[in-house]
Amino acid sequence: MEIAAEAVIALVKIAVVLGVVSLVVAYLTYLERKIIAHIQQRLGPMRVGWHGLLQPIADGVKLFLKEDIIPDKADKVVFVIAPIMVLVPAFVEYSVLPFSSTFYITQVNIGIFFILAVSSLGVFGIVMAGWASNSKYSLLGALRSAAQMLSYEIFLGFSLIGPLMLAGSLNMQKIVEAQSDVWFVFYQPLAFVVFFIAALAETNRVPFDLPEAETELVAGFHTEYSGMKFAFFFLAEYANIMVTSSVAVTLFFGGWKGISWIPLPGFVWYALKLGAIIFVFIWLRATLPRYRYDQLMRLGWKFMFPLVMANIFLTGLVKYLFL
């Protein structure tokens, strides 16, 4: 009986998180269009609803009703599985994020490691999509993306080691607890800079959006996709932005912990910090040009890798000598 009750509670939690995340992700597209429009002194979507507030829903309905084209020369099975393989890891990662002191789906010992592992599966969907489409643009986008995500995953993982050494645990809730006094971003500014750059590359965002690069590769790996399958890639991209921002909030900005003299519930703090980081993501898109491929790899291996290694060494030294 207890197992059944636990299962029901877990299912309700999962349903709530999935629902909220899907809605927020849909509105993230609206937010992005609006913010970029205002940065470029335009108005952005205005027609559907007040200031275009219903635009994401209209877009969703449109994509849902569009014809679902599978290219004739495509590998049918892989072509269909690919968008699912992109979307599922992006949503699975929410299962270990602590949204407040009490609200989370589950807490596992390998929390942050679990997120890293599952996010590394996202690249499969992209590679599968690029290969199965049987199109030059798609394949080029997929190859770029595989190399880029595989290399930047390393820096992403290594940049997290510094904060994890301070926290002494991989459990997300314990990491938040360890930041009760000072946020780790003040102890580990170098790690945060590397993490943020690697996160931009991992989520294929500007200035590292080479896999999509609409000005040279049409749309990269999802050139041949249409209808709901295209919507899956689109949603997965924003879901990934939210996950990486959440990891940044949890590891560097104290998670749901706020400033003690302002009484706000935990998840409000969480949402505020998350919003701020996502805003920076969008802001960068409106500001920076795209990197060239060799520049991207040089930045990663010759600049960020030594930097992050030095950070780990310094953190270990300081921890050994003074703590």
Partner: protein, 169 residues
Amino acid sequence: MELVFFYLFAAGIVGASLLMVTRANVIHAALSLVLAFLFMAGLFVLAGAEFLAGVQILIYAGGIMVLYLFSIMLMNVGVAVRLRQWHRQSALALAAALLLAAEVWVVLGRGGYPAAQAWSWRLGQTPGNVEALGQVLYTKFLFPFEVASVLLLAAMIGAIVLAKRQITR
């Protein structure tokens, strides 16, 4: 409960690996192997090896298999699909494999292992598997750990030397 999940994962692993061995298209085979690895990660969690499950997904599925897919895409597999897939010695090999299977069956059939001992930690509680594994890895197995790092370095250099295109001026 544990047994049910064990059979679920085991069926998944065996099914996916059978699929892997029989595919004509190498990309399909690699993707089936990824599926088998994911089921294996589930099995590792079941056996109390949480960290290993993470490593399995991160390194094996997310690293090594992407490397495979990447290399396969660099080669031209379109032609290879239409060629004969099976080696001429297949029948002989199958007979040998079946003989080996019979041998394994006899050895395993003897059984007689005592019931499993309990871990000193509980699944999902701190301090757990990660801490214990780190403790062992950096004390008792420090030397093999360092040797493994040297091996990785050697493999890295070897791979670069082998795969580098000859520069002709």
